[in-house]
């Protein structure tokens, strides 16, 4: 099959939806002429014109509000927020409007809006352009939170997101944009709330999201040489969360590591750990371990940033600890 990068896969999904459905349009800072900070929307302005690929002023609250209104009146906006760090400027729009309208109007209004943004440290972009606080949005009922870890998932999930009648936070990862993978040329969808087993194993389950999936996969290959088989479960959407698949995997292996790049405190890792503690504690052969970011801002200093990022080394360390319970 043909290979695309993660950024190209999203680009292709956007392009196909723009072609297929005239209600679809894009908005965001520098997404037109510049092609987006990570080139996800490259070439789309030329192809679809400035009415459908709109460069906005630096005013997140304003253009997210515009998009909510457009969605309510029948359009299918896909909005890019350049870094997840900037969603804070539009938090009222996201949390109090976008997530609530469908509920507060008794289901008579709907907001089929896709808000694209990205997380992840590792680009020397310092504390205001490197955060991974996607757990914020999982905390808000009314939002769907999507976290693709591969080019294939990115395209399929983007197609599903645009078709969905509800507001979607589409969380991309900066370090994944250049990753290549097989992507079908045709339009296809991946259902929300269905975890993907990225690797099967019998000894340890790692529930991993976004860049942690690839990091965990490479560590799993290392341990496979020692006969330790690690199962990698990628939830692909954090809300809805595919509890069933995670539970099944943990019941099978009895050992759980949760890896997400967000800070562990009140994070995605906490939520999944709590769910297992509540529903499957009797199956645990070992304490649950979490791999995530520490409770500090992302450092600018490259050596410090390297230590900060939960990477292969951290996953490896967790597996070593878990090994003692095998």
């Amino acid at each position: 099959m043909r290979e695309l990068t993660y950024a190209q896969a999203i680009n292709e999904a956007l392009m196909q939806n723009l072609e297929k459905d005239e209600r679809v349009f894009l908005m965001g800072e520098d997404i037109g002429k510049y092609g987006g900070i990570f080139q996800v929307t490259a070439g789309l302005l030329d192809k679809f014109g400035p009415e459908r690929v709109i460069d906005t002023p630096i005013s997140e609250s304003g253009f997210v509000g515009v998009a909510i209104g457009a969605a309510m009146t029948g359009m299918r906006p896909v909005v890019e927020i350049m870094f997840i760090d900037f969603t804070t400027c539009a938090m009222d729009m996201i949390v109090n409007q976008m997530a609530k309208i469908h509920y507060m109007f008794g289901g008579r209004g709907k907001v089929p809006l896709v808000l694209r943004t990205n997380i992840g440290a590792g680009r020397g972009a310092a504390a205001q352009h490197s955060q991974s606080f996607h757990a914020f949005f999982v905390h808000i009922p009314g939002l769907i939170v999507v976290t693709p870890s591969t080019p294939y998932d990115a395209k399929g999930l983007m197609n599903t997101a645009i078709l969905d009648e509800n507001p979607v936070l589409f969380i991309e990862h900066k370090k994944l944009y250049a990753n290549k993978g097989d992507v079908p040329e045709d339009h296809y969808t991946i259902p929300f709330g269905k975890a993907d087993i990225k690797r099967e194993g019998r000894d340890i389950t790692i529930v991993a999201t976004l860049a942690m999936v690839g990091r965990s996969l490479s560590v799993a290959e290392e341990f496979a040489k020692d006969g330790i088989e690690i199962e990698i479960v990628d939830p692909t959407t954090l809300r809805p969360m595919d509890k069933k698949s995670i539970l099944e995997s943990v019941k099978k292996t009895g050992r759980l590591i949760v890896a997400d790049e967000g800070p562990v405190t009140c994070g995605v890792t906490s939520e999944i750990s709590a769910m297992i503690a509540e529903e499957a504690i009797g199956y645990l052969h070992a304490p649950i371990l979490r791999v995530g970011s520490p409770d500090t801002p992302v450092p600018f200093s490259p050596p410090l940033e390297k230590i900060y990022i939960p990477d292969e080394e951290d996953v490896r360390e967790a597996v070593h600890k878990m090994k003692e319970y095998l």
Binding site: A286, Y308, K321
Partner: protein
């Protein structure tokens, strides 16, 4: 990043506090009725893993197989009947040749009330067994250790001449029974005498409350009642104000209901001082643990003959040795000694002491 603080399993020295096991191992042990304290953990710091339970299971099975090999000798009729009646062959003593169990033996056991059979089994097997504490035993255990480890106990003993008190009791026994429809017990005198003595020594009716001393408003004397499962202390309220008739009636009623397990909580909790008697045993004296939060407990040993010289003649007198344990936080030796002497004086001069003036 490093967010990998692992819970620590117990060191060998901590083992006694409670055995640690991963949840799946605990669950497996529970399902299979395995006592975790018997399992050796192979995880970090000795934590018990699932494989430890699995291995344990294998060794248990091995033991059971060996046990089965030591076959019990029984006739086939006896065996069939035992199975039908649900009687365990191990609980039957055989009367046949070489103690072979015969049908008659099974019938004999099967016809006994089930409880007796069970008791017999337990009797046979109790050594080396772990048995659960009854609810009552748990309460006694908790309260006694709480008392022993928080209240510093001091003990005092004195010999009380019982001749006069016994004589008084003998004299009034039949009249008393006619009037109150109950036999007066020597304990009834003790209860009354103690209550009267406490009036002089309020610290023996007190409890420690943080950094304060609470002197309880009523003098309610409890009597320790031994039961199969433990000890219970129902209290006679305001014993200093009651006549011996009421005390005797209440005492009898409380003891009966204690043995029947029908006491009200209030009847136990109201106690402010305890009398514990082992007079019916061949025990000369003993020390007692305070019944918390009380500050005093009287222990009464058996009554026995003591020789002494009276005008150059060797004569005997009846002696009972009384012990008093007090909470030294609030009762000092001199107070305790004075209390015990005052009590002794009352019991040795009963006519005046029990006269309702």
């Amino acid at each position: 990043m490093k967010n990998l603080e692992m819970p620590r399993g117990p060191n060998s020295s901590e083992r006694s506090e409670g055995t640690k096991a991963v949840p799946a191992a605990s669950r497996m042990a529970r399902e299979r009725g395995i006592d975790l304290s018997l399992v050796k953990g192979s995880g970090p710091n000795g934590i018990i893993l699932v494989k430890d339970i699995e291995n344990f299971k294998i060794s248990q099975r091995a033991i059971e197989t060996v046990k089965k090999k030591e076959k019990i000798q029984a006739s086939s009729l006896a065996r069939k009947l035992a199975e039908k009646k649900g009687v365990s062959l191990e609980s039957i003593d055989g009367t046949g040749t070489r103690s072979r169990i015969m049908m008659g033996d099974v019938i004999r056991v099967a016809e006994k009330p089930a409880i007796l059979v069970r008791e017999k089994e337990e009797e046979k097997n109790i050594f080396g067994q772990t048995i659960p504490m009854s609810q009552m035993r748990k309460v006694v255990a908790k309260r006694m250790s709480q008392s022993a480890f928080t209240a510093p106990h001091i003990y005092f003993f004195t010999d009380v001449e019982m001749d006069q008190l016994n004589r008084l009791r003998d004299e009034m026994l039949s009249d008393f029974e006619k009037q109150f429809n109950i036999r007066i017990s020597i304990n009834d005198f003790f209860i009354k005498a103690v209550a009267l003595t406490i009036r002089e020594f309020p610290m023996l009716n007190a409890m420690v409350m943080g950094e304060e001393i609470y002197i309880m408003p009523e003098i309610n004397v409890g009597l320790a009642v031994a039961m199969e499962e433990g000890l219970i202390v129902p209290a006679i309220p305001q014993a200093d104000r009651l006549g011996l008739g009421s005390i005797a009636q209440m005492r009898a009623d409380l003891i009966n209901r204690a043995r029947a397990g029908k006491l009200k909580l209030e009847e136990i909790e109201r106690g402010t001082f305890t009398v514990s008697s082992l007079a019916q045993f061949d025990i000369v004296f003993f020390t007692a643990i305070l019944n918390p939060p009380q500050s005093g407990i009287l222990s009464v040993g058996k009554t026995y003959d003591q020789l002494y010289l009276k005008e150059g003649q060797v004569v005997t007198k009846k002696i009972a040795r009384f012990g008093l344990s007090v909470d030294h936080r609030i009762v000092d030796g001199a107070v305790a000694a004075a209390f015990l002497q005052s009590l002794k004086r009352r019991l040795e001069n009963p006519t005046f002491a029990f006269m309702h003036l």
